[in-house]
Subunit: 358 residues, 2 copies
Amino acid sequence: MLFSVTMDLLFKERGDQGGEFKTMHITYHTIDLKLKHPFRISRSVSETRKNVIVEIDGGIGEAAPSPYYGDNAETVIECLEKVKDQIGDDPFQIETVLSNLNDKISGNYPAKAAIDMALYDLIGKRLNIPVHKLFGLDGKKQLVTSFTIGIDTPDKMKEKTREAKDFLVYKVKVGVENDIEMVKAVREVTDAKIRVDANAGWKDAEEALTKIDQLKKYKIEFVEQPIDPNDKEGLLKIKRESEIPIFIDEHLMTSKDIPGFVGLCDGINIKLAKCGGIREALRMIHVARAHGLQVMIGCMIESSVGIAAAAQLGSLADYLDLDSNLLISNDPYEGMTVKGGMIYLSDKPGLGIIPKNM
Amino acid sequence: MLFSVTMDLLFKERGDQGGEFKTMHITYHTIDLKLKHPFRISRSVSETRKNVIVEIDGGIGEAAPSPYYGDNAETVIECLEKVKDQIGDDPFQIETVLSNLNDKISGNYPAKAAIDMALYDLIGKRLNIPVHKLFGLDGKKQLVTSFTIGIDTPDKMKEKTREAKDFLVYKVKVGVENDIEMVKAVREVTDAKIRVDANAGWKDAEEALTKIDQLKKYKIEFVEQPIDPNDKEGLLKIKRESEIPIFIDEHLMTSKDIPGFVGLCDGINIKLAKCGGIREALRMIHVARAHGLQVMIGCMIESSVGIAAAAQLGSLADYLDLDSNLLISNDPYEGMTVKGGMIYLSDKPGLGIIPKNM
């Protein structure tokens, strides 16, 4: 009983229970992430990304806006300014806080994700447990992440693969003219698993099925986003005829979008910056499972803040693509450890993030 | 920083962190619940129910087996005996514990639910927070529960309704010859909301639609389980033609069953004893929401243990039918408070259950 009494006193002192709450305070600043190599996918290339770090009473989160979805650091900040007085006084009211945000603000998922992460970080810190423990998840489960090889000359792609030789899985960006040649080059320097991601770069089911057929001999684990996600007929044809499993990512944002892709794919790619955070990502995992869909957790270009947040749910996924902190040269934070292609979660409270001594 | 250090010491003393875990210990005993009135529904009548109370290292849960699903106290105990050495050493590993149980043991949802509840109670007690707070839910949200009026003579049903005059919603059991007369009788003594539950007692869509048409004038909120859940064509016809919303309960057990009922109903009735506990109930809520289905949380005949567990997720539901603790005369426990037809959650740690001084 000593335990209970002491805890009660501690909580009382902090105002976590009882009536003396203070409104939570949001602060934010931008970070300019520099990519080690220009990051080219079928539709775009990036050398830097401006993200927004959000702090709420000591909890930390990251908004990783993607121009493809119409978001950028300015839209994130605009959203944060709009909602900063509406997050209440208690991180444990996260359900109410986030559903109110969703009712009032449409879209703006990166900003919502940053708020969600910061609240979870704060909850974990208040309870003195890592967030994965809050969710009843195994923090020691082996979490294998893929390492992404952006589009480049075949020689450069070989070099990038060799540079990252410890990884157990590579995700090769495709969806361009010479993509078969690119995958061939990567396969020449590794026996590890290879996934490919066309980012909707193939123009229709015909082209996709031709490419998939040509890719078969390189032992491809799965193909992500072969064509435009709006081409449902094309996706159905690909799903029916492809010998390689198909994952959907683009424009599959939240749990409500999942039923529309059932029967058109084998799995989905969930990203906190697309769906609005850890809480919605968990919903998506549950909905995917109910439909027998496989689950990948992926990322935008983000620092260790966003990656550590996504990795908290890692043990619930079949596949992880949580590597963007490794693709940048100036990550301001440390979160989990990555070794031998595996993510080891921190057992620090909350998301386990600390500023890096740079 | 004092806070953190003190917490660390406390956790170390209890062995919650670090490597010194002891296997968790399951104990159980049966309880014979006596119904105040014989509880008659379209297919059966009960005067008592034998449930099983499960305790795990101070956490408490309840198995409420229903003969309709082939469960009883003996099957629960058999299941508990089978799994008692397989629940590990750490309640925070609940995801792994429960998914291992599901892999090894099919069905047996009441036993699984009791283990789930006991683990959540234990987690809440270890963290010194109520379980609804662990889930980030608002413990103060108004939770209106229906009160169930079992099948009886119209006069007796009037009397039962008058006895429970504080409630804001009644759930009237129907699905028998004279059910319109029964609903008429209840309506004569109350202006409150009325739901009806046929427990699959109407033989087909025709009979259901005729009854629904006759019920309209008594202002019915929704109709639960009009016909056999296997009659999907019948359900589709009812859903299309009924002017009153339709809920499904019977044989809709876990989240994986939900997609099969999409388009055939307006909402679903989730029960911990059907799905295997709080964790799966949350999954079901997420899946229902992704499909735009409404959510009711209901119960079997159970004491305040099972009801308090289900009520933890109450704020996520549209409708609650959590009244069975009020239908029995010898509830051995106290959990939440019920007043004016509303459930007030306890703010005690875990499920907030204490033995009643009888």
